[in-house]
Symmetry: C2
Subunit: 351 residues, 2 copies
DNA sequence: TTGAAAGCGCTAACAG
DNA sequence: CTGTTAGCGCTTTCAA
């Protein structure tokens, strides 16, 4: 029966068995280091016999590189960010790196998570949660740990980030509504402090203004970025004919748009798009399904993930961190049935 | 401009500034170690001044404990396992531990992930993906790293695990169908090699047999544990009236049950439960929503997560690993509208 | 190409 | 309570 004390063979054990020096063993497991082929083979064999696996912790101590990237998640209730997490894991795994995952309560600050991450000497941090004190940003910066904000930014800070062109995306939805003949609107906001929500709303309102729609023709509801929030907001606002139903509702993200559709259906027996048209943002898998068939703005997750990792420069650890990089990736309108398509569009196709 | 070389102040730096020994600094950051309060304060102050954060990597090297737990995910297309991941992260984070997340392609084996995990000296491994060679189990065992299988087991192996009482859950759904008057059935299987799918199906069929339903009255479809798989299987099998529709369909998990409901609605204009009744398993959030309102068996995630962590015995690392623990947690039937409720039941309530 | 030796930053006896 | 000392397992000069 094994005890938890022992943690397996070390490079010295392997060295002894193979009759070489301990550094030779180290070299045998370091691609690109010079070692006689015959010797390498003997070492690998000895290692196999002892079930030797190199200790990455010890390696990290000397190299000062952990090969670990931290991903800090905010709103896990939004499937979009779970998809993002998965994309990061897949890509990073493919590069031989590991992902340390943290969640912070929706709207909470990520300072505590950052502090933990610092202790583990991660090579980089991806942050998808809203709040981050600039103090933490500089703490990471001082220690040479690059941070990239995913889909958010801190105005006035020099933190780097990649995000979807949110305002432009908001405009796309407005255009779609307009093309389908809508004249009165509602939008369901997410986190009122989040730049993502604000930007999408701004683009939406701006485009509408250009088309001559007064701000007063646009109702604002608060959905707090989650399904239930949107469901409840819509249920409450329009119950008993209290407020007049608009022609179109913009869910600032898909999950809220879905909440709105379900509230309309369940509470008021209303059909989309016959009674109200709905637009979303993100293009999550759930929104593509039969009951929703959401017209939405697709965020190109893979591209965004790739660009985020580019900013991290994991392969060139010595390169100084460049502050203030702000990459914006355009979203793309995906037409489905939740907004009646103008004649020139085909459902489920691109804009 | 900072370079990536330097990685911050060390305990020696703090010691120098505070005028104490380096070990005093170590003690100041180790709860429960004896140190004069006045001295501790001075150290903390010096640490703050230097932005000192203890290096967990170095700590792990000496203590042989990383405070890291690995979670290896199989089918990420099933929201249930994402919920499980989140539950683990939340709980582990609360204990001051970190989570290293891995994904393995659906049906792929997790050996490669395990090997990586071993290098990082994790304190424990949670595995939710099907395939795991017994060689890897013993590799972990030898190194004193406890492994627990979540919702699956390897017959004949001494790997520990926690799972829902799947067969019993399958029986619950069968009972519900029977109570609602169904006489002909279909079930949509997940991974045909997965014990989870097999057990649920077995319980379902057994219960039906006891009620006098012949095996030939039960159609088997393959949904591969994913939404699209179930959607396609149902669309294909029943198109053009090729096969006769059963009274009830059991989706071996919720996400497949949802795929079935959508296929029925979109392809054949059929309504649930009026035309066909549907049962699921898992009780994922998506299945509770208006378009689905799935009657299902709830897996008590929190309980299961708790029991899984109990098996890991993270707090008593010296305790030898006990092989072959197999905890089964009962599921609970949740009545919703996808199966017509007998008079004695209230929708959304417990069985 | 190879081995010896010096750490990486920290914890853990062990004296005092 | 506190400082000294000896490593944890590995990488990396530095000579040979």
């Amino acid at each position: 029966m094994s005890t938890r004390q022992r943690s397996g063979a070390t490079s010295s054990d392997v060295a002894a068995l193979a009759g070489v020096s301990q550094s030779a063993v180290s070299r045998a497991f370091t691609p690109g280091s010079s070692l006689a082929e015959e010797k390498r083979l003997r070492i690998v064999e000895a290692a196999k016999k002892l079930n030797y696996v190199p200790n990455s912790i010890a390696r990290s101590l000397t190299t000062r590189r952990s090969n670990i990237v931290a991903v800090i998640l905010g709103n896990t209730a939004n499937p979009f960010y779970l998809q993002v997490l998965e994309a990061f894991i897949l890509r990073l795994q493919g590069q031989g790196r590991q992902v340390l995952t943290f969640t912070v309560p929706n709207g909470g600050d990520s300072d505590e998570a950052i502090l933990r991450v610092l202790r583990y000497q991660v090579d980089g941090v991806i942050l998808t949660s809203a709040q981050l004190s600039t103090r933490m940003v500089s703490l990471c910066h001082d220690r040479g740990i690059p941070v990239v904000l995913f889909n958010r930014y801190i105005p006035g800070s020099d933190a780097s980030g990649v995000r979807c062109a949110n305002a432009e995306g908001g405009r796309l939805i407005a255009e779609a509504f307009l093309a389908a003949g809508a004249r009165t609107f509602a939008m369901i906001h997410g986190d009122p402090k989040g730049t993502t929500s604000q930007d999408r709303a701004r683009g939406f309102v701006d485009k509408l203004a250009e088309a001559g729609i007064a701000r007063s023709a646009i109702t604002s509801l608060e959905g707090h970025s989650v399904y239930d929030g949107a469901f409840n907001a819509v249920s409450r606002h329009y119950r008993d004919g209290k407020a007049k139903l608009p022609d179109a509702i913009f869910g600032i993200n898909d999950i809220m748009a879905m909440g709105a559709i379900d509230a309309l259906g369940q509470r008021f027996g209303l059909k989309v798009p016959d009674d109200v048209m709905i637009g979303g943002f993100d293009d999550i898998a759930e929104g593509r399904r039969f009951p929703y068939r959401l017209t939405t703005v697709r965020q190109p997750i893979d591209t965004m993930v790739e660009k985020a990792l580019d900013i991290l420069h994991l392969d060139e650890p010595l390169r100084p961190i460049q502050p203030g990089i702000d990459v914006q990736v355009p979203g793309r309108l995906i037409w489905r049935q939740s907004i009646p398509a103008p004649r020139s569009r085909t459902p489920d196709g691109a804009a």
